[in-house]
């Protein structure tokens, strides 16, 4: 009964609280990507971008950013020149 009253006043079900907390916790845990995988990811990004544009390989940064409800991959790349005819074929 007491619980029903509390729910009525806007208290969330505990299962819902647990799910939301776990979404954030697991995201944090999974963020812990090994440096070699990060390096491989960076190299792959360079390879793909290089098909379309000339980029400054030394200035590329790849980082993961953790927000409250999201994880973002932030990459900063300096473009030197964009190829006029893409080499996508």
């Amino acid at each position: 009964m007491l619980k029903a009253i509390r729910r009525f006043f806007g208290e969330k079900a505990s299962s819902q609280v647990a799910r939301q907390r776990m979404q954030v916790v697991l995201m944090h845990d999974r963020m812990d990507i090994a440096p070699d995988i990060m390096e491989a990811l960076k190299n792959d990004i360079i390879t793909v971008l290089s098909r379309y544009m000339e980029i400054d390989r030394r200035t590329i940064h790849v980082d993961l950013e953790q927000g409250k409800n999201y994880t973002a991959l932030i990459s900063n790349v300096q473009i030197k020149r964009v190829y006029r005819h893409s080499m996508s074929t």
């Binding site: 079900a13 505990s14 299962s15 819902q16 647990a18 799910r19 907390r21 776990m22 979404q23 916790v25 697991l26 845990d29 999974r30 090994a34």
Partner: protein, 263 residues
């Protein structure tokens, strides 16, 4: 003829790994497959008591690996099923008595002789875990609908994937459908969406589990048990049989009557 090598793991302790191994192994043996269950929890063995075979142990896993006995000498045959064996862990040794390479070789040898090799993994993610997963091609991750178990399961899944083990299945143990309905427990759907691993089955929370371990007889021998029925389905799915998942367990009036009589 190579058998399947399956490790049952969880990260967190006490979620039901050993019970799962014992019951899945028993069902597969009942289906006439030859099955060996390997207790990889060196120092904290329990598969032997759950199977009711604790009085028969002479040799153990470490003895095989150190060459003190032949494989056959350490294998204990089940009391009811002649095609079901267990290899107990050593109780007075350390996890470091075995290395992953040795476990891999042993699993490979066992898979030549048996249809199924089930490995009972210790809790944790250290040496014992690494030993237990070394020889497996498939992993079953057991979790419960609690935050600590789910977090540890996610960690273990990450480690398995990093170790190139990609055939991973999930079992959710101790599900209390009544609490889910009241909004006080994460549902099966919630857990699957968090962990993103295919579901093998859900085992309802049940007193019968404790009772069966008290007796040292796996639950699946008991026809009327709900949890036992869940293990039957799980083993069948593992065996490649197509059985639909019934996520919503219906509680019929008969169940209530039964619960009242048995309580």
């Amino acid at each position: 003829m190579a058998g399947k090598m399956i490790v049952v793991t969880s990260g967190k302790g006490g979620v039901g790994k050993t019970t799962t191994v014992a019951n899945i192994g028993t069902v597969l043996a009942k289906k006439k497959y030859s099955v060996v269950m390997l207790d990889a929890d060196i120092g904290l063995r329990n598969l032997d008591v759950v199977m009711g075979l604790e009085n028969r142990i002479v040799y153990n896993l470490v003895d095989i690996i150190e060459g003190k006995c032949r494989k056959q000498q350490a294998m204990l045959r089940d009391r009811k099923l002649h095609n079901l064996y267990i290899i107990p862990a050593a109780q007075t040794r350390e996890k470091s008595a075995v290395n992953p390479e040795q476990m891999k070789n042993l699993c490979q040898e066992l898979a030549d002789e048996f249809d199924y090799v089930l490995i009972d993994c210790p809790a944790g993610i250290e040496q014992g875990f690494k030993n237990a997963v070394a020889g497996a091609q498939t992993a079953i991750v057991v979790t419960t609908p609690e935050v600590s178990a789910i977090r540890d399961a996610d960690r273990v899944i990450g480690l398995l994937e990093a170790g190139e083990l990609r055939d991973i299945h999930l079992i959710i143990n101790r599900m209390n459908h009544r609490m889910v309905k009241k909004g006080d427990m994460m549902s099966t759907e919630d857990i699957i969406s968090l962990l993103a691993v295919p579901l093998l089955g859900v085992i309802p929370e049940s007193d019968e589990v404790v009772i069966s371990t008290n007796r040292g007889t796996p639950l699946v021998h008991d026809r009327g048990s709900k949890a036992g029925a869940a293990f039957h389905q799980i083993a069948a799915r593992l065996n490649g049989e197509e059985i639909a998942l019934d996520l919503e367990q219906k509680v019929t009036i008969m169940d209530r009557v039964k619960r009242f009589i048995w309580s």
